[in-house]
């Protein structure tokens, strides 16, 4: 199954070299920090990864197949260390669920006075390949939950094992042409359909369908042609969570609120280096923070 998925993605990538349309691009991001999040079993009601032990990685590749139609994929990994009850750590890296998407980056172009509005929409389907188990220790389940928390629950379609995710999302920008600032907003609506129990114990309260929408809004300012700064805030809501917590450890609540300042460096006209810091402000993921660094290449 994994090989078939990898082959399909490679095929798409190779086909994209000669495709007409909106070019192609790729990006890689690694996030590292500390995460604490509610977990969904009786014995381990909270997962924790201290200092630099929480990590997530996402690779993205896309290419245009037609004007205004982009296809691509995301490949995530959860290489976090998981704190165990007595204080040791387990290094049980887990592959998360890859995702294929189709996107129209310019579904909407409009003007509001002297402001330009642009919005794109994306539809994605994930492959339920996230590693989980082993059932005795749930080490990989814990690793995935930590990486999911590190991302502020903004990518549950990638980090939730045992579900087939369908995600509809939209991303928009508001800016005055020629100015240095812009406002960004995004809305993601992942629907997570359970396909297997992901080695979870019998007392785990899995749901047939989980829904974890998240929204993000922020502003960006170009300080110079080669550097811009951004500040955004995001909220993610378990409505409902794909697996409900079994034991209350004081991290109840369905909504997570986070903040993310970001600095982007244009290394070349096509290559960007992005650095960011993300911190939980309120909700069950408090005590979670991370630093991220990424490279993004785009040719249009």
């Amino acid at each position: 199954m994994k090989r078939a998925a990898a082959a399909l993605v490679l095929l798409l990538l190779c086909a994209g070299r000669d495709a007409r349309g909106d070019g192609f691009g790729a990006s890689a991001e690694m996030r590292i920090g500390a995460a604490t999040a509610p977990f969904f079993t009786e014995p381990i009601a909270e997962v924790e990864s201290e200092l630099t032990q929480a990590r997530s990685m996402i690779l993205v590749a896309w290419f245009g197949i037609r004007p205004r139609v982009i296809v691509g994929g995301r490949w995530p990994a959860a290489p976090s260390l998981v704190k165990q009850p007595a204080g040791s750590y387990v290094d049980e890296k887990a592959f998360a669920s890859p995702e294929l998407f189709v996107e129209d980056p310019a579904a909407l172009r409009a003007s509001l006075g002297d402001l330009a509005v642009r919005a794109g929409v994306r539809f994605a389907v994930g492959l339920p390949l996230a590693q989980h188990g082993p059932s005795a220790t749930l080490a990989r389940n814990q690793t995935l939950a930590i990486s999911d928390a590190l991302d502020g629950w903004r990518n549950p379609e990638l980090y939730t094992p045992g579900v087939l995710p369908f995600t509809l999302s939209a991303r928009g920008q508001l800016a005055r042409p020629g100015s240095r600032w812009r406002v960004d907003a995004a809305l993601e609506l992942p629907v997570l359909v359970r396909v297997h129990d992901a080695s979870l114990p019998h007392e785990a309260r899995t749901r047939a369908v989980g829904f974890v929408p998240h929204a993000e809004i922020g502003g960006a300012l170009a300080l110079a042609r080669w550097v811009s700064v951004e500040l955004s805030s995001h909220v993610a809501v378990h409505a409902p969570a794909p697996v409900a917590p079994v034991r209350d450890v004081g991290r109840s609540g369905a909504a997570h609120l986070g903040i993310e300042p970001r600095v982007t460096f244009a290394l070349t006209p096509r290559l960007e280096l992005v650095t960011s810091y993300t911190a939980a402000i309120a909700g069950p993921l408090r005590d979670t923070y991370s630093f991220a660094i990424g490279l993004a290449y785009r040719r249009e």
């Binding site: 014995p43 381990i44 201290e50 032990q53 165990q84 009850p85 007595a86 040791s88 387990v90 220790t137």
Partner: protein, 314 residues
Amino acid sequence: MRIAASGAALLLATACGDYFMVCPPADEAALEALPARLSQTGLDGDGVLAYRPSFELWSDGATKRRWLWLPPDTTIDTRDMDDWQFPIGTRVWKEFSRGGVPIETRLIQRIEGGWAAQAYVWTADGADAVATPTGYVDAGGTTHDVPGAGECAACHGGRGSFLLGVSAVQLSHAAEEDEVDLAGLVARGLLSEPPDPSGFAVPGDDTERAALGYLHANCGHCHNQVRPSSDCFDPRNDLDFWLQVGRLDAPADTPTYATAVGTVIAPGEPGPVFSKLIDRAGSRTIFYRMPPLGAEEVDQAALAILRRWIAEME
């Protein structure tokens, strides 16, 4: 400052892929050898011997009881009196209680090729305990954390014998009526090379014996120079707190004095500034505390003994 230094060290260690607190996950195949419930493990069976070590591991004040069972017609290989080797099938149990209520009972069993270990968490009605290889955070409504199955080797794997409390030094005391001690094991013919039944006394006055014993029980399983090869909680230094039967003539003969006094212990200076052992034993700061596992609170009584011991050193 200390946390920042610890964090910086951790970051560097992580970047270099050299992080000593990372242990392998539990061996699922080994866990399959263990029953799902404590009542199925044979704890209530014939031949189970209660025992108590002379010096106990600090577990945030939990009350503990221990039992040993050897398969019939087997003996413990005691050719190395400091590192007993146990026959396949050997089982030991250790029960942890808070306020008189059992929270968990740990089982270690000798299997082909090594050991299998996990904890059994008691049900609310106290009828039985259920295998919990994931461990359990804040079990039984207390602050007691039950270790995950993969964490057992973090401490027990520091000695080839694996059973830290079943040893010549630890059983060299007069046991209670319903318990077995070294003399009892000798009398039952359970040791292949039986020592003198009077056992091996830890040298020194009361303070010295208490300090040496505490360090043996709480530190020696990691800090010793014959630990099996493993990256998991290998301190990678020269400290040795494991008491050896051949080095008990006087306190100064022990590996503790030979390796710790003058390095992490400044004689006559019981404060944390000069005696790093006091600093770390009195800390619960992440990545700095000693011992690093299994306790959330400082053992204040033991710390007082260690301070007095160091203060009285010349």
